[in-house]
Amino acid sequence: MPPAIEIRGVSKAYGSVRALDGITLDILRGEFFALLGPNGAGKTTLISILAGLARADSGILRVMGHDVVIDYRDARRSLGVVPQELVFDPFFTVRETLQFQSGYFGLGRNNDWIDEVMARLDLSDRADFNMRALSGGMKRRVLVAQALVHKPPVIILDEPTAGVDVELRQGLWQFIRQLNGDGHTIVLTTHYLDEAEALCSRVGMLKQGKLVALDSTHNLLKGYTGAHLRLRLAHGSLPDSLKPMTATPPTNGEYLLALRDYAEVEAVLAELRKSNLTVVFMELEQPDLEEVFVEIMRQD
């Protein structure tokens, strides 16, 4: 069974700018995958090529085994894309927008599913509102509904929560989790790395058009040894021997020490005991995906 998304040696340049440089990547069926990278790393270009909005200079892309160029009809039927920009057609109501989108995929009798999607995205009471009358958050929900209207097995969300309030964000993730639980493959790009860490089982990181990291979220966090030890002393100041470990200047009497590995905790405590210093507060801070991301982007 082919993966949900296969990307083989894909390159794309815009003039002298190399947007994608030989990307090879598989995203398995049923995965919740995060595609991360700073602005201009190539995430949206890669999504655009997958969706047929742009064309690769070289390489092969398949969605559910369908080549996005040769077998574009089946590839596009297999894919739902929530675009980054808040775009809408000002001529139509929410229901018309979804009915047209459904019709573009050849689905004529789809009102039951359209009603269900609207209900799950809390859009039912806005069904007959013109798109112009909706708030930004509501328009974002319609974009999600449009991507789901043909029940695609693979859903790509390109920064879906940018500028979205907390309530919608939580509701959206609950819905997307449900879809993932139902077997849909989800690909997410976001600048909110806590979201990616909480939701995604695997992460790919792009930098200047190259895939610089690809692993499970667990392995990426485990492989990153940059834990921190936050502590406050009853009196006195940090011994000179520990000062090289400080990650940031002390604030409000609290020291933040960077650890290479957890074994260093005992060494730190031993050094404090040797100096007759008493710890009144101590917290071990685990590395998060944001730190891993920053570290990986800093490399090379």
Binding site: R73, R76, V81, F88, P90, Y104, G106, N111, H150
Partner: protein, 257 residues
């Protein structure tokens, strides 16, 4: 609207385009009909007693088919071009680029919707002017043939302009510097036989002339050139432009980067 897509993507896109212009029908249908009526009233008032283009045909009657065709052509062009440029600029063009719509379905839906709007406006002009002047229609098939060919050609040209233009200014330039002059210099208000020989020859290079001349033949049974020749030239232009446009769409010119 339970069965919304009886003809798949093409049917839906065609229906969307019809719904789009019909929702603003004051602007897209009624306004051009009113404009044509004003042309008729003013020109007939000023020239009725001074000009007779065809023997036995009043100038006002001569004017009606030209005005109907001019409105039909301009609105066919406006439909596809304005829809595409608006979609491109607002970004909602992706809603028709993401689904599995072939370039032929895309082309057919936009052209056919333009034809429908063109015919509605042309028919509206004819009906409203019939209140003021009797215009015979001696050959209905020729009238329909030139109305369909003309609206199809301008709907196709509208696709090219809508895809090519990156801002409203460029589209306005296309409309004001190409479409409007070609329309006005095609014999809407006169017969080319009333022009100096040089300008008569120049007019023969204007495809709009053949659309209007052939269309007018359907009403009066009189024309500057044979309607068959006009139909061949307009049909040839439509075929050539359609192939070119389909080729642009297939390549994704200015749509898929």
């Amino acid at each position: 609207m339970e069965s919304f897509a009886p003809m798949g993507a093409f049917g839906t896109l065609f229906r969307k385009e019809i719904t789009r212009f019909w929702k603003v029908s004051f602007q897209t249908v009624l306004a051009p009909v009113l404009t044509a009526l004003l042309y008729l009233l003013i020109f007939s008032h000023v020239l009725e007693e001074h000009v007779q283009v065809y023997p036995g045909v009043r100038y006002t009657a001569f004017l009606v088919p030209g005005l109907a065709m001019m409105s039909l052509l301009q609105n066919s062009f406006a439909n596809s071009s304005s829809s595409l440029i608006q979609s491109k600029i607002t970004g909602n063009i992706i809603f028709v680029l993401l689904p599995p719509i072939s370039h032929f379905e895309f082309f057919s839906a936009y052209v056919l919707a333009s034809v429908v709007r063109g015919l509605m406006v042309g028919f509206g002009v004819f009906v409203i002017t019939a209140i003021f002047v009797h215009v015979p229609m001696v050959n209905v098939p020729w009238v329909l043939a030139f109305a369909l060919l003309g609206s199809g050609l301008l709907g196709t040209l509208g696709i090219v302009a809508g895809i090519w233009a990156e801002k409203f200014d460029q589209l306005a330039a296309f409309q004001n510097f190409i479409i409007v002059p070609l329309t006005f210099l095609s014999g809407v208000f006169y017969s080319i036989h009333s022009l100096p020989v040089f300008w008569q020859d120049v007019s023969h290079f204007n495809p709009f002339f053949y659309m209007i001349d052939g269309f007018r033949y359907g009403f009066f049974g009189v024309s500057d050139v044979s309607p068959l020749l006009s139909a061949s030239i307009v049909g040839g232009c439509l075929l050539a432009l359609s192939f070119g446009t389909l080729s642009l769409l297939k390549r994704g010119y200015k749509l898929r980067h």
